[in-house]
Point group: C2
Chain length 450, copies 2
Amino acid sequence: MKKIRKFLLPEAEMPTRWYNIMADMPNKPKPPLHPATKEPIKPEDLAPLFPMGLIEQEVSTQKFIDIPGEVLDLYRTYRPSPVFRAWGLEKALGTSCKIYYKYEGVSYAGSHKANTAIAQAYYNKVEGVKKMSTETGAGQWGSALSFACKQFGIDLEVYMVKVSFNQKPYRKLMMNTYGANAIASPSNLTDAGRKILAANPDSPGSLGIAISEAVERAAKDPEVKYSLGSVLNHVLLHQTIIGEEALLQMEMAGDYPDIVVGCFGGGSNFAGISFPFVRENILKGKKTRAIAIEPASCPKLTRGKFMYDYGDSVGLTPLLAMYTLGHNFVPAKIHAGGLRYHGAGVIVSQLLKDGLIEAQSKYQKDCFNNGVMFARSEGIIPAPEATYAITGAVDEARRCDEAGTPQTILFNLSGHGHLDLGSYEKYFSDDLEDHELSNEEIEKSIAMIS
Amino acid sequence: MKKIRKFLLPEAEMPTRWYNIMADMPNKPKPPLHPATKEPIKPEDLAPLFPMGLIEQEVSTQKFIDIPGEVLDLYRTYRPSPVFRAWGLEKALGTSCKIYYKYEGVSYAGSHKANTAIAQAYYNKVEGVKKMSTETGAGQWGSALSFACKQFGIDLEVYMVKVSFNQKPYRKLMMNTYGANAIASPSNLTDAGRKILAANPDSPGSLGIAISEAVERAAKDPEVKYSLGSVLNHVLLHQTIIGEEALLQMEMAGDYPDIVVGCFGGGSNFAGISFPFVRENILKGKKTRAIAIEPASCPKLTRGKFMYDYGDSVGLTPLLAMYTLGHNFVPAKIHAGGLRYHGAGVIVSQLLKDGLIEAQSKYQKDCFNNGVMFARSEGIIPAPEATYAITGAVDEARRCDEAGTPQTILFNLSGHGHLDLGSYEKYFSDDLEDHELSNEEIEKSIAMIS
């Protein structure tokens, strides 16, 4: 029998609804609090930043939300994405487990970020928005939103952390190619940027600063709306198309995962692959373990504290009830820039607290080891972030093999690493560091906000 | 009705045979001549460089050649590749034509080169080869062969033109990630390289020099075989899987192309998309126009001469009966490095001479214009080479619209431009030149070999 490598859904079978796990959670997340009043935030508090369509999704408890036709149409530029059986990786590992991966790197900008970028741009367009702002670190999110905004006639300003802006010119060029305006942050275009530059003209920038600039643009100009690529409930919602497709594709493969794995930064790709499977656990008694993989250098899920904290490092956002290392926590400069975030978002945090999902942390050198093994056996060069998901799957397979109980593992390969090959150079020249994070460091960071 | 964007073949329906157009050509190509004796070359003359399996394919007139199971298995890491209906591009153009494109950028290394890389590595493995050498310019071919060799336990040395080696570190890193040894050429590892370096220690290298080094490695060491990524008959053969799939996918779409377009360097991706359609013309009376698009700065098909010439710039290869600008011709440094080749290969040349295919030339600025329009409307950022195919399709669509006779156009999008974004920077900063090639320049270059 031929070994089928890819399970492809025809476009006609692409799911047409997002899944909202809020409907099925035994304990709902605690409400976000207004940063000034500390009262539960009201939809209208968010209106200067987001269109009402997205604010409604942020607080919705409706179980399924129809994906608008124009969003589905643009999803079809790359969706349904394939599920691969990892024959090459299984052979390289010599495992008795069956390993599958969902590959989101097929999207135009190369990662799952497109799934929410298209949806967010659409809901802004519906409300007549002509200009949007956002921030980006390594550039995955900014490039995904650039193309999406172009499709709906929206001008986009992307505040890109200056050090990345200079080190990753290809991401900036991708945004330009899609017609967006990429701006090195801190910039002279905002009060926040000007203030930083006055104090330090050579500031390399940070994600916190870039967020402040992008939010300020929207807060001060009623013509401009703001967009965020992870953490928020509506972002996680849009990503659930990943897991909804995967459910159908695992059925095509005649299999069902014992374990589902995703890497974890703000939670969006992990939520995307895992929430539909968690639903099957809750409602149908399935026993799939959903495992979030975070960097050992930024371990909010495994070593953080569940408490109210700000979503940004400056303290402008609502307070969120979540696992956090403290919003002042500065993660080591690992190459998986998309995983360098201090908090976890309210839904994922509540699910973890309730034991409905699990979390593990991994070191970056191990992850690059496994990333290179993956590239050499499967062909796809993974984004640094995705090597954490690979490592989660690989380690679980090895554990199963040692125990003599082979299982079926599905992980989300959230993006390719074509524009991250510089980080592979560091790996090959043995120029990667693994930072051992002490309990004292974590306690100190959390104490600052307690 | 929903607009279907992608026509996907399931793996089970992937064609299992390559098509050899030699069987159906009304006039066969003239035989290659030995460079020393000027007599038709014999298979054993090629044996030091290539395994017999490939030499047999080079001279075969068998109509269909079964694709070995191990090759099919690795094709399945990315094949069948999708055919897209270019709804976004059609809208951007406002055309009444229907435009489809076959997308080969889904392969592990990002282009159609994988189709022959896997096949060549396989036939070498069958004959016990443990080490191979090749050259690469911009790096597409070298990276495709790197992964393929890894799958069959073959060590690979890639001689990469030094200026590209330094300017395109990501391509080198991709080869390293796949486990190959990328060497800046000229190198100290060969006589050819040492000779160049002695005369000019700062030589930037050239494709001609890199070929000389890679060929020398194989010619002088019986343990090493050589591999070429275009021009040769067996390479074109392996690429026909593109067109065989496209035939089936156009049928899925309920359509048939009036025009098929591919960009043209050595001929492999153009042959891949077009030969199966040319067969339908020859045998079934179909009337599809097959159009090869070459750079105006390297116009061998539209302004070259049909004659015997060397395949390389040094004069080591057999003499080939083909359209050529002369093997000493040095094309302008356009960004589509894969199209900078003086000749055309014997099959394509004979087909053009016999009026079974057509050729057009395009300028690079127009091509980047169309490449950016394509990226903004379809999402995929095309490789510089592929922008020539886009431009061929766009110009034909405009011609049809002006004539009021809309047609169906299929082009081959041979690769993505993720590792070529530097060339887009030149475009955005208006730093691209179009070189107007005079008749005198061409005549002079051809006269050198007449």
